[in-house]
């Protein structure tokens, strides 16, 4: 009688939805075994992965540089390498490559095509003559762009009492360029009221650099 009951119950369990749920939730030996099989997941060995991540983290922390300035340069631009021990600061960047001249992110002049070779040799004057004044020493588009910048900096300083106009530009130039172009940029900047030119260059490996003495990026503006 008992075995008949058991057989009927098993049949009921295997054939109906209620029976299958009952088997899964009940505390019988059979269901406990099946549950153990179901719950058994596979463990990922994360220790080795963690080792790799820690090594990458240490490497990145060693090379991390909070003082670095960031600016976009045209593709293929090569900066000269220097042993100068002073980190560059953020500022107004004049970026000059073999193809163009830009003030910050804004292109202000495109050189004549084919006027400069890949080695920087000048075949002809790369700046069109209609953009030159003052016996070819002043680059008009750059002068006008710098004047606008100067006026906006002064206006902001006057209205908000923020950072004063310092008259400084960062010159980021390709190392293959000739001094003839650099000279004109310095002259144009000086004419527009920028009396100090900072040559931004790539730091030589192995040279320790420090912040400049007048470093003020994280200081509060004078009230």
């Amino acid at each position: 009688m008992t075995s008949l009951k058991k057989n009927c119950f098993r049949k009921l369990c295997s054939e109906t939805q209620w029976g299958r749920e009952h088997l899964a939730n009940s505390r019988s030996i059979l269901s406990r075994r099946s549950r153990r099989k179901l719950n058994k997941g596979f463990d990922l060995q994360l220790t080795s992965l963690l080792d790799i991540l820690v090594i990458i983290l240490v490497f990145l922390l060693k090379t991390f540089d909070v003082t670095s300035v960031s600016f976009a340069t045209p593709a293929g631009m090569k900066l000269p390498i220097s042993t100068s021990p002073i980190y560059a600061q953020d500022g107004l960047n004049v970026i000059v490559s073999l193809e163009e001249m830009a003030l910050g992110m804004e292109q202000i002049l495109r050189f004549k095509e084919g006027s400069l070779t890949e080695e920087g040799e000048m075949k002809e004057d790369p700046i069109p003559s209609e953009y030159l004044e003052d016996a070819g020493r002043l680059i008009v588009p750059l002068y006008e762009a710098l004047r606008v910048k100067k006026e906006s900096i002064e206006a902001v300083a006057a209205s908000t009492g923020g950072q004063q106009f310092t008259g400084t530009i960062n010159l980021v130039a390709d190392k293959r360029l000739n001094y003839g172009i650099i000279k004109r940029i310095i002259y144009t900047a000086a004419s527009a009221g920028f009396k100090t030119v900072k040559l931004s260059i790539q730091k030589k490996e192995g040279v320790e650099a420090t912040l400049p003495q007048n470093f003020q990026r994280y200081q509060k503006p004078a009230s």
């Binding site: 900066l79 000269p80 650099i182 790539q202 730091k203």
Partner: protein, 205 residues
């Protein structure tokens, strides 16, 4: 009759597994942050004030400093070092014979090789540095050098000249300067800077 020993004592101690997933989450986030914010190319600067034409008389301090007007004239084949417009010191540093320069063999693959070429002069930066050390030892108070490169000189050459002009090297003979403390005592300190102030002298011309 002996009883069967208890199986409880044979049970191995359970190993504790650390849950490393949150730690990994934190590390991955940190690495992403560092990758986005770090710069693998460090940029340094060299400050060059633009010379100003002035009718004002020099100040007492400027007169007391007795500037020697140290000038470096960089030409395509030589560099001239002059002090006092050539009256105090004058030396010519020629380009090294058979100037060794890097020339591209084939522009396609960008391969470079050292070849003898007249078109790529190699300036003798070591000789220039030695001459400047000599000048500094004669006039230790001088700190400014005026650069007057030709228009055809490359920007890279100018930066190399500035590099050898600004600081002493470890192999140079030491130059001592006196430093005064607040209590009046003086000590000798090794000078590290050669001519740190750089001015371009021919931007107006």
């Amino acid at each position: 009759m002996l009883r069967r020993p208890s199986s409880r004592s044979k049970r191995l101690p359970e190993t504790v597994e650390l849950n490393l997933v949150p730690l990994m989450d934190a590390l991955v986030t940190l690495i992403c942050f560092l990758l986005f914010t770090s710069a693998f190319l460090s940029i340094v600067e060299i400050e060059t004030p633009v010379p100003i034409v002035s009718n004002e008389d020099p100040t007492e301090l400027e007169v007391a400093a007795k500037p020697i007007q140290l000038t470096l004239k960089i030409h395509s084949k030589e560099i001239w070092i002059e002090a006092g417009f050539g009256s105090l010191f004058s030396r010519r540093i020629p380009v090294m014979e058979g100037g060794v320069g890097l020339e591209k063999i084939s522009p396609k693959d960008g391969e470079e090789k050292s070849v003898l070429s007249e078109n790529s002069p190699q300036y003798d930066y070591e000789a220039l540095h030695q001459a400047l050390v000599e000048v500094k030892q004669k006039w230790p108070r001088e700190t400014t050098v005026v650069l007057m490169p030709d228009s055809g000189v490359s920007y890279d050459t100018i930066i190399q000249v500035i590099d050898v002009s600004r600081f002493f090297k470890e192999t140079d003979p030491p130059l001592y300067k006196k430093v005064k403390y607040e209590d009046g005592s003086e000590i000798d300190v090794v000078e590290k800077e050669l001519f740190p102030k750089i001015v371009f002298g021919n931007t107006m011309g």
